[in-house]
Symmetry: C2
Subunit: 212 residues, 2 copies
């Protein structure tokens, strides 16, 4: 499909440009309210002493997430799509033009809250990450297979809810996800309690070091 082909070309260009500037970029996706912003905050706090981090916030409307992230003292660019259901390489390119790449090591894109379309549009990132949160239910890999199959890492968030959500079978989720994507890394976390965040931060640091 021609539009996707052009997007892929642009995205490849962004990937090269970032690598040339020594910047590693991660695209973070999930449903609305699964904990993307909370994970961005936890990640910044865990890594800011070792890496210079910038954030690209994508939303249909509102500047809430960019403002929240900016309070951590990192540069944050807010993209407002005005209704468009995903970010693409063109929009990310514009956001990058507004950032000082020479002064950054790591950029996090918080994509629009949507388990469908963002997976189809390459953002130029070096790493595709997604979140599934416990309250959403353990059958999401069956119903939204594309995103689970093309991410490099899945974080199962809100594990502090497990004592309440007895119908969420973590082993079954992992089985379903690995059937779609055998190579994926799966990390269980709670952005609320901090559980699993160290493991996430260590894994991410290694990926960034290898990737740059």
């Amino acid at each position: 499909e021609e539009i996707l082909g052009d997007n892929r070309e642009l995205a490849d260009g962004l990937r090269k440009r970032l690598k040339g500037s020594g910047v590693f970029m991660m695209n973070l996706m999930s449903s609305p309210g699964s904990g993307k912003t909370s994970l961005v905050l936890r990640t910044i706090r865990a890594l800011k002493n070792e890496l210079k981090i910038g954030v690209i916030e994508g939303d249909i409307d509102s500047v809430v997430d960019a403002e929240t992230v900016a309070k951590e003292g990192v540069p944050a660019v807010q993209l407002r799509t005005g209704g468009f259901c995903h970010l693409d390489a063109t929009m990310i390119g514009k956001a990058l033009d507004a950032m000082d790449l020479a002064a950054l090591d790591f950029i996090i894109i918080e994509n629009v809250g949507n388990l469908v379309c963002p997976a189809e549009f390459d953002t130029g990132a070096h790493l595709n990450a997604m979140i599934l949160s416990v309250p959403e239910g353990d059958d999401k890999p069956l119903k939204y297979p594309l995103m689970f199959s093309l991410c490099n890492v899945l974080l199962i968030n809100k594990i502090d809810y497990l004592k309440y959500a007895s119908d969420f079978n973590t082993d079954l989720v992992k089985e379903r996800v690995r059937a779609l994507n055998p190579g994926i890394t799966i990390i269980e976390v709670s952005c609320k309690t901090g559980e699993g965040i160290d493991r996430w931060a260590d894994w991410l640091k290694n990926r960034i070091r290898e990737g740059r």
Copy 2:
């Protein structure tokens, strides 16, 4: 935008056709895992003795939800979009062709789990309903305003989590939603405990009676 215009025309046609057959149709939307299928089950159990109900299930992939609903003994048609992020009037028209409208009073469409695009595509329904669940957070009306502004009714689901999710401010959600859509009806429910379901069923019964 021409595509939306054609869709609106088709949708108006479906609405008339359904009214002519004495069928009332509701389009139910929300993020993935907010409780659409759970609400469909609760609604069927509350109303099946008074209304003949049919369900149209929309998903990217999988027949899980249609199978779950069919266990209640109601006719259920599963639409699989294969990646398309919303249902539209063309798809709903095909589903209706597969149903015996003369034998039905009320059809529920469970739309694709997505807080963005489904709001833009008229399905031919007489009522647009949406769910926001407590774990998703109370800022969703700010970030996904279109869906909140064009629904007739909002159900706040998973209220059984309120004792645990202390950062969810129900009054603030209502304030934000009414700022976008003063006329909207807001009903708090738990599909898990059954709280609020009677109130929802009564309100819905009245809407169906008025609408047909």
